[in-house]
Symmetry: C2
Subunit: 268 residues, 2 copies
């Protein structure tokens, strides 16, 4: 609610709160939040509240969905409902955005939170979801780096071969258009000019990646949390691939991170 | 050679250079390095040079091995030679050390560079290698966090179950003694008090991990390179599990990182 209030005051978004109005009023009172800034839809039952929120998005009365103090699984059941949900035919994927002094521009990472061991087709959806989102941010031709532990194909590391095939498919022009895709690359190749120079890497995304695509949820999650909790990069995250963006922040996220996520969902 | 010279001048180590003496002299001259500070063993052939360097370590004339401007595979063939090498019966593993404002103490990560998809027994060797090294640094009972994308066992993420079994084995007192091991944990749980408090994590290594154990080389490598190239943490790395530590730095490492690696190998 603090992030929602902040977003409203900054003119980033108009927020509709769907839930138990009595509880919402109580929290607003405790936190000094002016409820007149929100539209409130009273729906005390959590499952019904999620369904109502999703239907507001389906019917274009709202342009994106945000999870509040509720289980992710309850929200996702409403999102994924085959009749009333927000499915688009694409796999859902998470994208995280980071701003840190250690990189010369915004850096995005995907998928750090949803797809556990994405197969070939899911990897392509993840890339396309991210590229479409970044284009909406005004990055006309995002540079996509496909992450592995090394920059060459190695049969002992199967993801390196999969990335090489995805680069071929990109070059064929059939999928992943409007972007530059290269891989396998290790993280240093994607972000560091020194690393590229010393290792003789000549990649169209080398040292200038916009999007890092993780090979697995473990790798993505560690990258995400390293940047958030050790590097202390400003960060936000949005779920892509549904009809509209979904803000699915975690309890441990700061109010600032939730605010950034709201802003990203508006831009996406 | 710059890192070796620096280590010598700082009194961290006495370095023996094994290689083509003519080339070594030329580089020393170009870089203003005083060769009288080193012992030089003239061995122009790279394979023979590696064998000689390894034999200096085996015979206790040197206490650790460092790779210079030579292929890693050439060095490793000499290290792993069954008769004249440095095998100890344990799997080799890499440990990296980081110092950054974002964490309240030195943070170690393993294995970010050698074992691709370590099996159960290799995971235990990796942990034991790291614990022994940290004990030599004066950390009597290192806190070891077993990394995954979440902090609970999930059949869809097999490594979470493997970590739980390793924690059971640790608790039985049979292996991984002299340390505290917990997992599965996500990176935020391992390093952030806020994350532990908000998520109700009550772990003996929570928010205070010394060692992060990566679930795969992809995850470890991304963590390592995020901390080195984006967070710009001071860092060094050493290969453990052989009879003596091995400094196996990469061409893209800075002279400072190589110096830290030498210092770590001495302490280990």
């Amino acid at each position: 609610m603090e992030a929602a209030y902040e977003a409203t005051k900054l003119g980033i978004a108009t927020m509709i709160l769907v839930g138990d109005e009595a509880k919402i009023s109580q929290i607003a009172h405790e936190r000094g939040i002016d409820l007149s800034q929100f539209k409130v839809v009273d729906e005390p039952d959590p499952i019904a509240a999620c369904k109502t929120a999703v239907s507001l998005v389906s019917s274009r009365q709202a342009s994106s969905l945000m999870k509040g103090d509720i289980d992710t699984s309850t929200v996702m059941r409403a999102v994924l409902d085959k009749e009333t949900g927000l499915r688009s035919g694409k796999k859902l994927s998470h994208i995280a955005a980071f701003e840190t002094e250690g990189y010369h521009k915004m850096l995005f990472a995907t998928d750090c939170a949803i797809n556990i061991a994405p197969d070939f087709d899911t990897k392509i959806d993840i890339i396309e979801n991210a590229v479409a989102a970044l284009q909406n941010l005004g990055i006309a031709k995002p540079k996509v780096a496909l992450m592995a532990a090394k920059e060459t194909v190695d049969d002992k590391m199967p993801v390196t071969g999969e990335w090489a095939k995805i680069v071929d498919l990109h070059k064929s022009g059939e999928r992943m258009t409007g972007c530059v895709v290269d891989g396998p690359l290790a993280l240093d190749n994607a972000v560091s000019e020194d690393a590229c120079r010393i290792k003789g890497i000549n990649s169209p995304v080398g040292a200038d990646a916009d999007i890092l695509v993780a090979p697995s949820i473990e790798a993505g999650n560690m990258l995400y949390k390293c940047l958030s909790f050790i590097t202390k990069a400003k960060n936000g995250g949005v779920v892509l691939g549904a009809k509209r963006p979904i803000v699915l922040t975690s309890r441990a996220d700061t109010a600032e991170s939730k605010l950034i996520s709201i802003a990203l969902s508006v831009l996406f």
